[in-house]
Subunit: 345 residues, 2 copies
DNA sequence: ATGCTTTGCTCAATCGATAATGCTATGAGG
DNA sequence: CCTCATAGCATTATCGATTGAGCAAAGCAT
């Protein structure tokens, strides 16, 4: 408090009449190794406190070739899932006594590489990469910097990866939807189940589509490839796609598997605008979670990815230390709507 | 790529047959000041590229007493508002060419002070503090470290602060609700408008309650102090409070002003469990925003805080540089439900 | 009194980048 | 031919914390 400037161990040393190295050991808790008198330590600590001393972590990091920072990059904060991931990451890192540095990099390849480079430049001790657009170069960068890293959500063949068990989750969701449906008649496409949203080339969507196909096929509810509409992640696009489907069928489909919360938003917007009777019999499922999604005017089964479990698993992989490629699948949970005593026909 | 180890300017200097300082200037773009030959610069840049050189930002920061990091602390990522804030922050910082470091500190005083200390230890160039539990000590820490800082969402009397215009927002929301209500009869409390949620001692809630009082009083709809139920932010608590209110009145209130998205979640959970007729005539408002909130089975007017505007304003304050106390009010926007052609009585 | 151990520290180098100062060729001007 | 300016770089100190090596004094045994 006395000085406006930050004080260094040299300042403290001068005030305490000792050397800087003594101050260093006194303040970082390892003074016993150096056989420093308890008296001296306490005197130094007192002076440090009075002068508002704070270690310069840059200097320490430079010397130690490490920073005490754990870095995470993720595309955005626009969905619960990513927010939950960063929240879980922050908790875990703080519990381990280091400092989380979260970088929102956007979805561009370039930007993501940039972000990883920047983190490495700060000598982060580990990197968690969520939602990588193009994982391989990112892994290469980390490896060439010798930094342990792990991928979450979007896996990398070259590094430990933790992803939701998209196949199992989608299988469970589809089965649950089918169970509440009347059997489909092949001649009436209006009675079919549809899959909407996502990018078919991305591994997550690919697995989900596979599960959707398998489950519907097993139930005799797969009739053609037009049941899968992987139209990307845009809210507006999903809205127009569902409108088109509605028009094409002449009515709402019997079941709708929506593949991401943003598409679900588009679907719900559309549903809010049509007469309630029109969709009263549609069974809805969404592979993603939002607390309000479960509280809409119609029942929805949602799949919740377990961000906290994924993060613990990611750190478990990091703790192992080899950095060998691996793939951990985390089962998501099915969240069905709480009992709705309502629903006026 | 050649080496597994990170290379330094000294390595590059050796390979290029120059001195380290030449390399430094060649690579950081300021070589003209040092009259270094273009040939030399290009040779150095080539070698640097081939060896995967990356500046060590810790070393640079140590030397320059700055880090290129912009720090933000915020309590959690559990609501849209905070997620939007960090998203906007990240965009703004990256647009300015530095690196965002976001720290989720939780709501504890201690933890928040700790987080700010840690940021200062990394020599961050600026600090944005969102949702401070106890602003004064945080500001004191930044000031004693000589670091420009600004408060967002929860203001500090000692520093520039940017907050939502809670009074105006709540006034507009209350008025909008009252406008769609039949006039209240003083003798029938069931016809009253209620305010639910929040912590009355916090400045945001305090302002909102004031506006709620003023608007209801002006409309002759303020009858007693029991119309304000500041029961905190817990989902479960809000649910029991609304249940109790329902029981006490013998029916749902005519209007309900819900003061935060978490309380709104509790309210919606409750509403989902009662017969639809029971609440068909309740007018709902929520001071917070969630895209699905607007798509529930009943109409809701939501107040959306403009995170992006708040962040630009925060940086405008930082750019001014004096760090003098100030209070910027940002008007939120009212989001009414899109036309609902539905609602079966 | 001498030698040896232990205590309690100090010194100086180091991490990598930066920047003030210094040094050496070359060419121009007188 | 000598002086001086300039281009083009090299040297070296510095930022703050850490750490291996060392060193003086005290204690102890012989």
């Amino acid at each position: 408090m006395k000085d406006r400037q930050k004080s260094t161990i040299y300042d403290i040393a001068r005030l305490a009449g000792t050397s800087a190295s003594t101050v260093s050991y006194a303040l970082n808790g390892r003074w016993q190794e150096r056989r420093i008198k308890r008296d001296t330590v306490e005197r130094i600590q007192k002076i440090a406190r009075e002068n508002g001393y704070q270690v310069n972590l840059q200097a320490r990091g430079l010397r130690n070739a490490s920073s005490g920072l754990a870095g995470m990059i993720l595309p955005e904060h626009d969905t619960r899932f990513f927010s939950d991931l960063s929240q879980a990451f922050a908790l875990e890192v703080r519990a381990r006594g280091s400092c989380p540095a979260i970088v929102l990099s956007g979805r561009g390849r370039e930007a993501q590489e940039q972000s990883v480079q920047t983190l490495l430049s700060y000598n982060v001790d580990t990197v968690v990469i969520a939602g990588a657009t193009d994982p391989m170069p990112l892994s290469a960068i980390c490896r060439s910097g010798g930094v342990p890293h792990v991928f979450v959500d979007h896996p990398c063949p070259d590094a430990p990866s933790v992803v939701t068990d998209n196949y199992q989750g989608a299988l469970a969701l589809t089965q649950q939807m089918l169970a509440t449906l009347p059997p489909a008649r092949p001649d009436d496409p209006g009675n079919h189940v549809f899959f909407l949203g996502g990018e078919a080339t991305l591994p997550a969507t690919e697995r989900r589509i596979a599960a959707f196909r398998d489950a519907t096929r097993a139930a005799g509810a797969l009739h053609g490839s037009d049941q899968v509409i992987a139209c990307g992640y845009s809210v507006a696009r999903a809205e127009t796609e569902i409108a088109e489907l509605h028009a094409r069928l002449g009515r709402m489909p019997a079941g709708l598997f929506v593949n991401s919360i943003s598409c679900f938003e588009g679907v719900v917007k559309y549903l809010a605008a049509i007469p309630e009777g029109e969709m009263a019999s549609t069974v809805l499922g969404c592979f993603d979670y939002d607390p309000f999604g479960a509280l809409l005017r119609f029942p929805v089964t949602m799949v919740r990815q377990r961000a906290d479990v994924m993060i613990s698993e990611a750190f478990a992989r990091l703790d192992e230390g080899f950095g060998a490629p691996s793939l951990s699948l985390i089962s998501p949970e099915l969240v069905s709507q709480p009992m709705s005593s309502t629903r006026t026909a």
